[in-house]
């Protein structure tokens, strides 16, 4: 029976099916754990406890979540314009350069209240710039963004190595990184922030960029679904011919959307460079840009979905690290395998269980009446 054209109530599609997928992934993961002689129930317990059990764990989980929200949004915005931006990694990396240049130049002369917004702007601007070039090439030269953004990841990586090793490196030492920014200009950590209100939580990398990420979710939602530019973006994404008919210039939409996407990926730099590392270091995007693709797909390219998917990945990162630490039999590679299973079931096989759910729904659905 063909079930793809049967619509389900939203709660089944959005809540139940993803939960079933996660359960199935955990079941497979549990089977692997059994094979190597680890009690799966205990492992899941450690993982959840590591992610949520105590305030430090929660802090780390949300710190990872912050990065995933930024890169997930970056992929989603491009996706609505029918563009597949795989370059979040490189865009975040170059965004870090923007933030670092601003801080290195002005951290002794400008107060934090002015410098931090400038740093955020510089991150967004540099991220956008790194996405602008592939966007321009796609729109006006026909080079596919998938190819060019991948290439730009490599170019970004090479460029940063060159800059860090030869130009920006802190003199007098071997490590390819810049000097620390002035302490007074660091983006406040969450524990410092809540201390203002009299709360006391453990120090973690979680910082105020978490709020920036949530703000970006709201702004992206407004932009895509509530502004004229978002309307044009979606029109061009769904149907280039309809856009042309309506007098929208799809090429311009491509360029603008890629810039926005890159700017959002730049949020990773705000979190990592301004909030955590306080200096420019090598490879700080650490794969967040790529994972953003999975986050966006799992979150159905919607900000709310992206927050949930980012949280899931935050749990996997933090809980997984805890798991590898607690049970020596579970190596980092195995943790990656478990993460991979969840991506597989929630992303690639997302609709595998749908026919079953549809059938169950058809059997148990409330009788609507009027059945002649």
């Amino acid at each position: 029976m063909n079930t793809s054209n049967i619509t389900l109530p939203a709660w089944l599609d959005i809540v139940i099916i993803p939960l079933l997928n996660i359960a199935l992934a955990l079941l497979c993961a549990g089977f692997i754990l059994l094979l190597i002689g680890v009690n799966p129930v205990e492992a899941v317990g450690i993982m959840l406890n590591g992610a949520f059990g105590y305030d430090e764990g929660v802090g780390y989980t949300l710190y990872y979540t912050t990065n995933f929200i930024f890169t997930g949004l970056a992929v989603a915005v491009a996706f609505h314009a029918n563009l597949f931006n795989i370059g979040g990694e490189g865009q975040a990396y170059i965004a870090g350069l923007g933030a670092a240049l601003v801080f290195l130049a002005f951290d002794s002369s400008l107060p934090a209240l002015i410098l931090i917004p400038f740093g955020i702007l510089a991150s967004a601007l540099f991220g956008a710039l790194w996405a602008f070039i592939p966007g321009f090439l796609q729109a006006y030269r026909g080079s596919h963004v998938v190819i060019t953004t991948i290439m730009f990841n490599f170019i970004a990586s090479a460029l940063m190595v060159y800059l860090l090793v030869n130009i920006l490196i802190k003199p007098g030492q071997m490590s390819p990184e810049t000097r620390y920014f002035e302490v007074t200009t660091w983006l406040p950590k969450m524990h410092e922030f809540v201390a203002l209100f009299g709360y006391n939580i453990t120090k973690t990398p979680l910082n105020l960029s978490f709020f920036l990420a949530l703000l970006c979710c709201v702004l992206v939602w407004i932009y895509i679904w509530r502004t004229r530019w978002g309307y044009e973006l979606r029109t061009a994404g769904f149907s280039e011919t309809a856009a042309l008919y309506a007098g929208i210039q799809p090429k311009r939409v491509v360029v603008i959307t890629m810039c926005l996407s890159g700017a959002l990926a730049g949020g990773v730099a705000v979190n990592e460079i301004m909030g955590v590392n306080h200096r420019l270091i090598m490879n700080f995007p650490a794969g967040y840009g790529f994972t953003g693709i999975a986050v966006s797909l799992m979150g159905r390219n919607h900000p709310v979905g992206i927050i949930m998917a980012s949280l899931l990945f935050g749990v996997l990162y933090q809980g997984g690290a805890e798991l590898a630490f607690e049970i020596p039999l579970i190596t980092r590679e195995l943790v990656v395998a478990i993460q991979g299973l969840i991506i597989l079931f929630c992303g690639a096989l997302a609709l595998m269980l749908r026919p079953l759910v549809v059938r169950a729904y058809l059997v148990f659905r409330p009788v609507t009446g009027g059945h002649a």
């Binding site: 029976m1 063909n2 054209n5 679904w225 509530r226 502004t227 004229r228 530019w229 309307y231 044009e232 979606r234 029109t235 769904f238 149907s239 011919t241 309809a242 042309l244 008919y245 309506a246 007098g247 609507t368 009027g370 059945h371 002649a372």
Partner: protein, 528 residues
């Protein structure tokens, strides 16, 4: 009004298993609260041509989709050659001997006819062996049914009529004994349609059962043996074609009296009436260098409808797109509503709209609306920059929805819900929404392509009347249509396009269908 239910009742008891190729009993299908099909009974005798007519949304497509396995009926049963069977997929339908020729062909353009025919039905693991068998079978089929197509031609090089024959061959190759054709003549010239009907006659004589879904009642009268009328999901009548008339069928479909009328101007326009469209030597070539528009010269006066007749694909679309500002011209120029447009001074669609030049595109799904958008979002496509719809960039959802509701009311778009996805409206209702959107702007120049394609009879009247009203208010209208009846009913003047050129021009009152048909094939000079 002839209501012949007796055939159904008289044969119900005596189904001797072999008389009917298809028998549907009591089929019902609902989508949510919508009853697409309600208690449908249908019997089609083997070796006959049966027509199914009905307005858009009457349930024709749903019924055929059930028969072809796309949907499953909520209740009722299907009997093929007297055997009760379940059809859960198109594969099972094919196995039961049912073949379907869709309105939009399902062919791979870059494959040959032979490859298309055997695609998915290869019997050997090596393609070469399958091809040898398929070629033999294809030859046999062409001989038996007079279906001649060169098996080695690439589909993309075939005429539309030949592509359709390839689709029919595909079905026959899969041993179809029941052939369903969905609006088969929509893309054909009158001459090609005649060829198709000859093929269908030959199929019938060989014992194939044909079901023809069409909204063209003339074809029903010409070729079918029996006809069923669907209205609002219910079978309202089964008739012998010989016992009915077009008028009677049309009234059964709509459920009320209809009068056809000719809308041409009675009085000639005064000679000093200004031109709203003037085209001088307009040219456009495609990527391969062929002319899509070949030195077009044309004018349309205020208060005049000029019809552009022609087989689809002879440059009419290009003409509309250039005049609407979507595609810049390659050479030549035109003056539209007082503004001169040329290669060096193009105008984009948005400026065109500001100049009160409005465009109802031919291809509503590709250009006219965005399927994934809500009706409300589609109802402002092209007009969003107006302050009432987006103030400082923020969408004004309430006024967009109010606008959509108003448009829906003015053209009776159903269901009248602005929050539904554009794709979930039937083709006719999508078309009405687009027409409503463009006509609402009180255009001074209206470019309109296929205004009633896929629209039901009741709505055609309404649309024609609205277009004529625009003309009477002084709008200059360029009408592109492949429906000759439409061109003849509306146009004050008719130009005929063939391979990018205007090959003939006649006044609306002196045009007739046969001559226009010949002109569309550019055969009028030889024939005359």
């Amino acid at each position: 009004m002839v209501q012949s239910e007796q055939k159904v009742s008289s044969t119900h008891s005596s189904t001797s298993s072999s008389q009917f190729a298809i028998e549907l009993r009591n089929i019902s299908k609902s989508f949510g609260a919508v009853h697409a099909n309600q208690n449908i009974d249908l019997q089609v005798e083997r070796g006959t041509i049966h027509g199914i007519v009905g307005e858009n949304g009457a349930g024709k497509s749903t019924l055929m989709s059930i028969l072809y396995g796309f949907y499953q009926a909520d209740s009722g049963s299907i009997h093929i050659n007297g055997n009760h069977i379940q059809i859960n997929s198109s594969r099972e339908a094919i196995d039961a001997g049912i073949g379907m020729v869709h309105q939009h062909f399902m062919l791979v353009d870059t494959f040959s006819v032979l490859e298309n025919v055997m695609l998915g039905a290869e019997e050997h693991s090596l393609l070469k062996h399958s091809a040898i068998d398929a070629r033999k079978e294809l030859q046999r089929l062409s001989d038996t049914y007079q279906l001649s197509v060169n098996p080695d031609s690439l589909v993309e090089n075939l005429q539309v009529g030949e592509q359709q024959r390839t689709e029919i061959l595909k079905a026959l190759y899969r041993k179809a004994e029941i052939l369903i054709l969905d609006e088969p003549t929509g893309v054909l010239t009158p001459q090609e349609a005649d060829q198709l009907f000859a093929v269908l006659q030959a199929l019938k004589e060989q014992g194939v059962t044909v079901i023809l879904i069409t909204h063209k009642l003339r074809e029903i009268m010409d070729i079918t043996d029996t006809v069923s009328v669907l209205r609002q999901g219910q079978m309202v009548s089964h008739l012998n074609t010989a016992d009915t008339s077009m008028q009677a069928l049309a009234e059964l479909m709509v459920g009320r009296k209809l009068d056809t009328q000719n809308h041409q101007r009675v009085d000639a326009l005064p000679s000093e009436t200004p031109n709203r469209i003037e085209v001088f030597d307009l040219c456009l070539r495609n990527a391969a260098g062929q002319y899509r528009l070949d030195h077009i010269n044309l004018n349309v006066k205020s208060g005049e409808i000029v019809g552009v007749a022609g087989v689809a694909g002879n440059g009419q679309s290009a003409l509309l797109e250039v005049l609407a500002g979507i595609v810049p011209p390659e050479s030549g120029r035109f003056i539209i509503n007082g503004r001169e447009v040329s290669v060096s001074d193009p105008v984009d669609p948005r400026q065109m709209r500001q100049m009160r030049v409005n465009h109802v595109p031919e291809d509503r799904l590709k250009l006219g609306l965005v399927k994934a958008f809500t009706a409300a979002e589609s109802s402002v496509l092209g007009y969003l920059h107006q302050d009432k719809f987006s103030w400082r960039g923020l969408l004004q959802l309430s006024s967009i929805k109010a606008m959509c509701r108003r448009l829906m009311d003015s053209f009776d778009v159903r269901p009248g819900n602005p929050n539904l996805k554009s794709a979930s409206f039937s083709g006719g209702n999508q078309q009405k929404l687009i027409l409503a959107r463009e006509l609402d702007k009180k255009p001074e120049v209206l470019l309109v392509g296929q205004p009633t394609r896929g629209v039901d009879i009741g709505a055609i009247e309404l649309i024609h009347q609205k277009i004529v009203d625009m003309r009477d208010e002084g709008c200059a209208i360029l009408l592109v249509s492949v429906e000759l009846d439409e061109i003849l009913a509306l146009s004050d003047r008719i130009v005929v396009m063939f391979e990018g050129r205007i090959v003939a021009e006649v006044t609306g009152s002196e045009a007739d269908k046969t001559t226009l048909g010949l002109m569309m094939a550019n055969a009028h000079e030889r024939a005359a």
